[in-house]
């Protein structure tokens, strides 16, 4: 049974790897709280569904889905750059609009891909089960993306992206046109989210506009779990940990459902995973030390320090 759960976790988890990499690129590398990713997941799913039903090759439909996602991300960037809107606010607006865009693209609320050729249909032709085909396709995509990101983030261009996400003033002082890097970073991140949406739709054989609901938290859960596996600041360990994180997250979900968790509580579980991981990462050791008086003093000081250093930035 446990083997079955692992297989499910790998099968589903790998489909969300592009989303998690996109979230990491936007939030981890660029330090931009971009919620457009959620909308791009849906836009990618609907685009891939429509093109596949129209008989397009799976690679074409996923490729165009990625372009659609990148365009969605660029709308957020344009709002940020031209109207000087805060990225979080801009992305909430665009993600909301993207929901309607999905309905426009599909001209209905849901579509079935029954009988079409998807990115997973090849398994049947070579005598593999659907699950094996899914895992192989997902693993291939994940491997390719990790390799490309690993290469990209080490090029001079990639380094300038990392610098932009770390400190805009420093990056500009090194000659980086930071506004352009933010645009490129968010476009790529949203293309990745759209690819994830396309893969999920191809895999489950239908598209429903609600698949994007809460998907950002799924990605966050995978990312936070993954980042808790490594303390390195180097790219390779982080990318590997992210892939592992999303698979472990799907394993937790599969196990919970197996032992009888009410599916309605799934979103609650996901949010709880994020909170618990963050709590363990930031509080784990200090929680143990509250058993002693000095430990309690230390954690009180740490808390005060956090409140003292807290900052707000106006959105409007």
């Amino acid at each position: 049974m446990i083997w079955n759960l692992i297989e499910i976790a790998v099968q589903v988890g790998l489909l969300y790897v592009p989303l998690v990499l996109g979230i990491y690129l936007a939030m981890g590398v660029m330090s931009l709280p971009d919620l457009t990713l959620q909308g791009s997941f849906g836009v990618g799913g609907s685009t891939a569904a429509v093109l596949t039903i129209n008989g397009q090759h799976p690679v074409v439909s996923l490729g165009v889905a990625m372009l659609a996602g990148a365009a969605t991300g660029l709308v957020t960037v344009l709002l940020h750059m031209k109207l000087r809107l805060n990225v979080l606010l801009a992305s909430i607006l665009v993600a909301t609009a993207a929901y309607s865009m999905c309905l426009v693209i599909m001209s209905s609320g849901n579509l079935s891909l029954f009988g079409t050729t998807t990115a997973f249909s090849w398994a049947d032709g070579v005598g593999l089960t659907y699950r094996e085909g899914t895992i192989l396709t997902g693993a291939g995509v994940a491997l390719l993306l990790v390799a490309v990101l690993l290469w990209f983030l080490r090029t001079d261009y990639g380094l300038s992206l990392v610098a932009t996400g770390q400190n805009i003033q420093t990056a500009r002082g090194l000659g980086v046109r930071t506004e352009l890097r933010q645009a490129v970073g968010l476009a790529v991140a949203n293309a990745l989210a759209a690819l994830s949406g396309g893969l999920v739709v191809h895999n489950q054989g239908f598209m429903d506009v609600t698949i994007q609901n809460g998907v950002i938290v799924i990605g966050l859960a995978g990312m936070m779990l993954g980042l808790s596996f490594t303390r390195s600041s180097r790219v390779l360990p982080i990318l590997v940990a992210l892939v592992a994180g999303v698979v472990v997250y799907r394993f937790a979900v599969a196990t919970s459902l197996q032992i009888g968790l009410n599916p309605n509580l799934l979103q609650l579980l996901t949010a709880a995973v994020v909170v618990v991981v963050i709590a363990v990462r930031s509080q784990g050791r200090s929680w143990l030390s509250t058993l002693t008086a000095t430990g309690r003093r230390q954690s009180r000081i740490a808390r005060t320090r956090y409140y003292e250093e807290d900052r707000v930035a106006s959105f409007i």
Partner: protein, 279 residues
């Protein structure tokens, strides 16, 4: 106004530069007030002045982090008044007070140099600058500092001490020999020992290359002993400008007295300066 822009011996010309800020409470603060300045190529200029005198604002207008409300900034004959900072770095480089602001802290020293090199070339290609080239450039600049940094190119820069990071920042700012180097209290956040070492390293690097330099400092003695020219700023203008022989005859005490007189005997300002300069 740009009459002198044809003069090849001038690396920096500010003419009538003004910068105003809207302070909280909506009152207008004139941080830099109609400031004009010409600096000959290869000069090492020290700038002193109390807090809020407009020193940082002046440097930021030259580097492009702030754009002047009025006036012109001309660097080596090129009018850069409205250019964004990232397009000025071939001409101007700036080192700030806070070590975190000068290097990308989650990248290695080598990666920081790779970025700085790419920036000077004005191209960030989709490939890596050859590690040999980066290392050679880094070693050439870091070795003379005598801090052993050339052997630690693989270290994550966030793990280095403030003094090490400031020394590296000055070295990175020398890449490609910019026309003007701006140092904004770049040793102020360091302990006295590191400050002295970074000051020595800085002077060696810029003197060797003959880079025109504006250095903001609170250390009057250092300013008097090492600079070719000394400016004192007060309320957004230059109130003292001495160079050459005049400079050698002055003591920190003289400076304080001149400053107190010029600033209308404003005691708080004068004492602020006295405090930060070891007599």
């Amino acid at each position: 106004m740009l009459r002198a822009s044809s003069d090849p011996t001038l690396d920096l010309q500010l003419s009538g530069c003004t910068k105003r800020f809207i302070a909280p409470g909506r009152e207008l603060v004139t941080a830099v007030d109609n400031l004009s300045l010409e600096v000959e190529a290869g000069t090492f200029v020290s700038i002193i002045g109390s807090n809020g005198a407009g020193k940082s604002t002046t440097l930021a207008m030259i580097a492009g982090n702030l754009l002047a409300d009025e006036g012109h900034v001309v660097v080596r004959g090129q009018d850069v008044t409205t250019l964004p900072s990232w397009r000025r770095i071939g001409l101007v480089s700036r080192v700030r007070q806070n070590p975190q602001d000068n290097m990308v802290s989650n990248l290695t020293i080598e990666e920081n140099f790779a970025l700085a090199l790419a920036g000077r070339r004005g191209r960030f290609p989709l490939r890596r600058t050859s590690p040999g080239k980066v290392r050679a450039a880094a070693q050439e600049l870091l070795e003379p500092l005598g801090m052993g940094l050339e052997d630690r190119l693989g270290a994550i820069s966030g793990s280095l001490s403030g003094g090490q990071r400031q020394a590296i920042a000055v070295a990175m700012a020398c890449l490609g020999s910019p026309a003007v180097m701006l140092l904004d209290e770049h040793v102020a956040a360091l302990d006295p020992n590191s400050a002295a070492r970074v000051n020595a390293a800085t002077e060696r690097l810029i003197r060797e290359r003959g880079i025109t330099t504006l250095m903001v400092t609170h250390d009057m003695k250092h300013a008097l002993d090492h600079a070719d020219r000394l400016l004192m700023m007060h309320q957004g203008t230059i109130v003292v400008d001495v160079c050459g022989d005049e400079l050698t005859g002055i003591t920190p005490r003289d400076l304080q007295q001149r400053f107190a007189a010029l600033s209308g005997g404003s005691l708080s300002d004068a004492s602020l300066l006295a405090e930060s300069s070891p007599a």
